[in-house]
Amino acid sequence: MPALTRYRQPESLPVELHRRRIYIVPTGFGIGFAVLLAVMLIGALNYSNNAALLLTCLVGAASVASMLVAFRTLDGLRLVGIHAGHVVAGETAELHLEFRTRRARQALRVDLGDEHASFGIDADGQARVRLTMPTEFRGWQPMPRLRLWSTWPLGMFRAWSWLYPQHAILVWPRPEASGPPPRQPADDTQLRRLQRGDDLAALRDYRHGDPQRHIAWKASARHEQLLVKDFEQPAGQHEWRLDWQQLAGLDNETRIARLARWLGEAQALGQPCSLHLPDQQVAAGNGPLHYAQCMDLLAMLP
């Protein structure tokens, strides 16, 4: 069936459904109902009962009309975006599909593997559908084929279409369960010195408990309240240097898993860290963005 396989090639977003890619077949219920209609027709003809015949024709015509409604439920639907959250290999990824239409629609369903979701689109023509997708390995994972279908309005016909968006989600490596802590860099005396807080960084308002010798008297004379000299205070912490090369002797995936664990720990502690990979570096930093950047790099390692 070449028609069914025509869209095997991934296509770039937005994907719009049109008549050449929407298929319709009767559902099991539809086939059963057709048999029932045939029985009704024969019964009405046998009893030469014109009112019953008219009713049978009416129900039959309504069923046929429902096929066109099913088609129109899908026709003109556009998939404009796919948003994926961060996911670690082995867990399920959360996807948000963004659909646009011009008309309101109801009773749409989307299947992704064994995952099903149903949604409707309001008059504003937008809908976001949440789906989950299982992941196995780190790295770029292409979107599988999506099936968009509906049996609206009477459940007698199923209209469906395959979507194969050219989109991949980045799956982060799975951190190892346990292992050694990151090795501290040996030459951290420089940092300790800094901790003493000699470098003047800025002036700030006086807070109760500030040492008197930190008050900037000259500057305070020109202001209404006291100003205090603020010094760099690394608070007894130092940057973790997470280096690919330190983990010599391990295979690549183990190294990645360990780095991922360290990154996770650093993120949990709010600990600044820097990541050094064979051909890429991430400068020291912390926060979710930094973490995501490091994990992305790890995920994309060959």
């Binding site: 009893y47 014109n50 009112a51 019953a52 046929v64 066109l68 129109r72 009477l154 459940g155």
Partner: protein
């Protein structure tokens, strides 16, 4: 019905409450539609089960346990067999189907169950029409489709919540869209030449006149004002006192009742017409009998019927569906001018030992008037007219010598009593006489141009045979109550009828009957003969089944194209700002400044401003407004659009000729 075995496979989605409510409504409508022919007990029981199930599922969703379902199923089977004696056939089948559907609700908890139930409900709705295909019944059944369709819709996921009553509306739209195709299919679906299986049951209660008559058994009929027949006359409408529609001629009297015997073997009696015949068509409501009423004396039999000895019309088959036939009748005639001896004997026979006082009175008249039969007839009519006889629809019951009691004691009755006693009197006096039953009168529907005869117009009268005149109709009721003949049964029974049969309401009902007439003619009466003549105006005579099949296929294809056109149509949505810009371009183009294909709006309008320096400000304003509408927002704000529209509307190119 899945009662015992279990289904395997994927779990079915549960049933939404809204869908279940709609299913209950659908089944309730169905039950109401079938109620007229179901036993009362069964209707009540099923209604109770339905209501209980609805209430129970509102409390807690879940299947009814099997220990409850199985006994209910057994009970239903027993009830149907107990009422009808069998499970097969139209009536028991319909009763059983309705019962099964109610029981199906007990175990409907999944979408699949609900779909099966609603599909079956469509079938059961249609079967309700097999018991009566009137306009109202059909319309109500079509309305019954609405909750069924709504229930099917409610099974779909992810819908906008709406109020309960609004659920029914989309079904109306769907049915209206489907109506053209349905009507087309109705017109051209080839009809069966003969039924495939046991034709419609004949056990159905016969309605209308019966082939025997005893005083008092018309009472139900006279209170039943459903239409009996409708008559279209080709010429003038006969006057009221000549609108006698004969059905049965009854000869045999056993002291209690008059019997009609099908005169199958006797030759048809001669009739000599004294006036031109009247041509007319009769549309007869189903009677489940074979007799076809005809205006007075019919000259020949219509198709599918025979003329019997006493010029009664007997159809080849019982009339189970509305039946149309065309006839010619004479209203002034000599029926059987010469009476053979056997008929004379038959027309004089009276049971021995009954009604002695009546016989004595007749003998007295015979002595009094000698050989003058007409004088004896007149004497009898005078008796009815002058003595204290009353026309009433609720006469007292009569004993063994019914005619004696009626003539000399009670003196209350309606047409049957008068016709019967008159005929007995005549026979006792030695004049051959017989009773004729049929309809008399009717309501002339001027809008539809037809005469509506209701069951309540049923009437009985007498015929006496007079030498040289043949059988002469004598209506003794007219002697008692002339209004019965001149104004109709309603006027005669004034004050004795239910409220809806009096006055203006009855008039309205008579007018409304034209819709029934259209329905009967257009839909119910559309048989294979009329189907064959469907395309005669287009030169296609006598369509056979193959031709009809071709037309059906071609028409369906046409409808499919129309439907596809609708389905594929996408409304081009032009941005309103662009549309206004196009209008502006047209105005400027007429002024000679045509937009080039490679020109953006800004460039174009700047060029226009240079070409029309007098309108520079105006054009700049237009340009800025357009750019704002088009590019400053996702969706142009309505006030800016309004402003732009006004600017474009007011803009005129003022050419300055140098």
């Amino acid at each position: 019905m899945r009662l015992v075995f279990k289904r395997t496979g994927a779990a079915q989605p549960p049933l939404p409450q809204r869908a279940f409510d709609l299913m209950c409504l659908s089944v309730a409508v169905l039950l109401a539609l079938h109620a007229p022919h179901l036993p009362y007990g069964l209707t009540a029981g099923l209604g109770f089960v339905l209501a209980w199930r609805w209430w129970q599922r509102r409390q807690r969703a879940g299947r009814t346990p099997t220990w409850l379902k199985l006994p209910l199923l057994g009970l239903l089977t027993l009830a149907v067999i107990g009422s009808y004696g069998t499970l097969f056939g139209l009536e028991p089948g319909a009763a059983f189907a309705v019962g099964l559907l109610v029981l199906k609700l007990l175990e409907s908890e999944t979408v699949r169950d609900a779909r099966v139930a609603m599909g079956f409900a469509c079938f059961a709705l249609m079967s309700a029409l097999l018991f009566g295909q009137g306009l109202v019944a059909t319309f109500v059944v079509a309305l019954g489709l609405l909750p069924t369709l709504a229930a099917l819709r409610a099974l779909e996921p992810a819908q906008r919540p709406v109020r309960f009553i609004r659920e029914l509306l989309p079904g109306v739209g769907l049915l209206l869209c489907a109506l053209p195709l349905a009507l087309f299919a109705f017109l051209v679906v080839p009809r069966l030449g003969s039924p495939l299986w046991g034709a419609p049951s004949s056990q159905q209660a016969t309605s209308g006149l019966s082939d025997s008559m005893s005083p008092g058994n018309f009472t139900d009929l006279l209170l039943d004002d459903s239409p009996a027949l409708r008559v279209n006359f080709e010429g003038m409408l006969p006057p009221t006192n000549q609108r006698y529609f004969r059905a049965y001629v009854m000869w045999d009297y056993d002291g209690r009742s008059w019997e009609h015997v099908d005169a199958r073997l006797r030759p048809t009696v001669a009739v000599e017409a004294d006036a031109a015949p009247v041509a007319y068509q009769i549309n007869l409501e189903p009677t489940h009998q074979r007799v076809l009423p005809a205006l007075d004396v019919p000259l020949e039999a219509p198709a599918h019927a025979q003329l019997r000895g006493d010029r009664e019309l007997i159809a080849d088959r019982p009339v189970n569906d509305p039946f149309n036939y065309s006839l010619r009748s004479v209203l002034r005639y000599q029926l059987q001018p010469t009476l053979d001896e056997r008929s004379r004997q038959r027309g004089l026979r009276l049971p021995a030992g009954f009604n002695p006082r009546t016989q004595a009175l007749a003998a007295e008249w015979r002595q009094q008037h000698g050989g003058d039969d007409a004088a004896i007839v007149q004497a009898a009519l005078t008796l009815f007219h002058d003595r204290d006889f009353h026309y009433t629809l609720s006469p007292p019951r009569l004993g063994r010598d019914a005619m004696d009691e009626f003539l000399f004691v009670t003196r209350q009755g309606f047409c049957e009593h008068y016709a019967s006693s008159f005929t007995v009197l005549m026979r006792a006096a030695g004049i051959p006489a017989r009773v004729v039953t049929g309809y008399q009168g009717g309501y002339w529907n001027a809008l539809g141009g037809y005469l509506l005869v209701r069951q309540s117009d049923a009437h009985a009268w007498s015929e006496v045979w007079l030498a040289g005149r043949g059988w002469v109709r004598v209506d003794p009721t007219a002697a008692v109550r002339p209004e019965r003949i001149s104004l109709g049964a309603n006027a005669a029974a004034f004050g004795q009828l239910p409220w809806y049969r009096s006055g203006w309401l009855q008039d309205m009902r008579n007018h409304w009957d034209i819709v029934n007439q259209w329905w009967n003619e257009g839909v119910i009466g559309f048989d294979s003969i009329r189907q064959r003549g469907l395309l005669t105006p287009f030169g296609l005579r006598d369509l056979d089944d193959r031709m009809l099949g071709v037309i059906l296929a071609a028409g369906s294809a046409l409808f499919a194209l129309l439907g596809l056109g609708w389905a594929l149509h996408r409304r081009e949505r032009i941005d309103p700002a662009s549309r206004l810009m196009r209008a502006l371009e047209n105005k400027l183009g007429r002024g000679g400044i045509v937009r080039r294909a490679n020109e953006g709006p800004q460039h174009y309008l700047s060029r226009a401003a240079r070409a029309l320096p007098a309108q520079r400000d105006e054009l700049m304003k237009l340009m800025n407004c357009y750019l704002e509408c088009r590019y400053a927002h996702d969706e142009p704000p309505p006030e800016s659009l309004r402003y732009l529209r006004r600017l474009v509307r007011d803009f005129r190119v003022r050419r300055v000729f140098k």
